[in-house]
Amino acid sequence: MNTEGAFLPDIVAFCCAHSAYPAADSAGYLRIPYPENIRVIRVPCAGRVDVLHILKAFEKGADGILVLGCHEEACRHISGNIRAKSRVQKANTLLEESGIDGERVEMLTLAQNQGPKFAQIASEMNERIKGLGPSPVKPRV
């Protein structure tokens, strides 16, 4: 929540070191604004993100999660981005089963020079989560 009481989503963005992380970086030094409530976590490949990371992030209070990796043919680890995509699909199913809207997690692809795209993705997710409201499973303080 921000100081005025409006809902400020807690969004975790798992960013691939070869694409999304440098893109986020470049958005920064190009001064392209993106929501400051996005937590960027650098991973060596989107494929490093496990279903459990996503579930536990919600247990710890995340409202939304982005998994950002390289475009289809561009993965440095050959198919990490493809695995990430199917893991996020699996996570969606597990979340829906547990009563959490699967729309709160998404995997997207981009390249390292796409700073503006990163900012766009971050803003759109922010708006989506604002619309969905706080996660129904935030830990009680």
Partner: protein, 218 residues
């Protein structure tokens, strides 16, 4: 190996609805291989149950443990201390595992998180198929190594039936007709005489339920 599948989350939730503290136990053998009840699946299910519980306004506490085989008394006994601290045990083992835990810890409710399906083998990534019926009277010497009891939908010993359809079974067009497979295998091995023989009816009591074997190791 034994192949099992996790029950729907809703069914598991209902089983443990009244408890505040449970132990979730995985098994490191068959159900790990078929992605149903290993250490990873225990972690995922526990997380899902905590999330679902919190959504309902409760705070389920879970502890997790995975032992090498749930069907061995000595290994299950090792859970003693964890079991003392909880109200119920949720087992991700096959039916044999669940019952071993239930028998060793008779004072506490033990619940099955899986549906044990069959004895089988992998056919591809994430795909397991049934290959053995544990019928107690193995017929594989007569069919070139293809089990008609389990792979033929009707379990025929003198197949195929009239429902065989271009090598597929009438029951499911994705399933092969076992007897067409047997015919092809025996033909390739020059042993079609095995298929021409008449096989009298099975001994359905080869394994009386519950089955029991007493043996001395050689």
């Amino acid at each position: 190996m034994i192949v099992a599948e996790r029950k729907p989350l809703e069914a598991i939730k209902q089983m443990i609805a009244e408890y505040k503290k449970i132990l979730v136990v995985g098994c490191g053998t068959c159900v790990t291989v078929c992605w149903a009840g290993g250490e990873k699946e225990v972690a995922v299910l526990s997380s899902q149950l905590r999330l679902a519980s919190r959504k309902d306004g409760n705070e389920l506490v879970t502890s997790e443990a995975t032992i090498e085989r749930q069907c061995e008394r000595e290994l299950v006994e090792g859970l003693k201390d964890e079991v003392k601290r909880v109200e119920a045990v949720l087992s991700l083992g096959c039916g044999a595992g669940v019952q071993t835990i239930a028998e060793i810890f008779q004072e506490i409710p033990v619940y099955p998180a899986l549906n044990t399906k069959f004895v089988g083998m992998p056919q591809g990534e994430g795909v397991w198929v049934e290959t053995c019926a544990a019928c107690g009277d193995c017929f594989l010497d007569k069919t070139g190594g293809i089990c008609p009891i389990v792979r033929c939908a009707k379990g025929l010993l003198n197949g195929p039936c009239g429902g065989t359809n271009n090598g597929k079974c009438e029951v499911d067009p994705e399933k092969d007709c076992a007897w067409t497979l047997i015919y092809q295998r025996l033909k390739a091995q020059g042993r079609l005489d095995l298929m021409r023989k008449y096989y009298p009816r099975r001994n359905f009591q080869a394994v009386t339920r519950p089955g029991k074997i007493e043996a001395l190791q050689a």
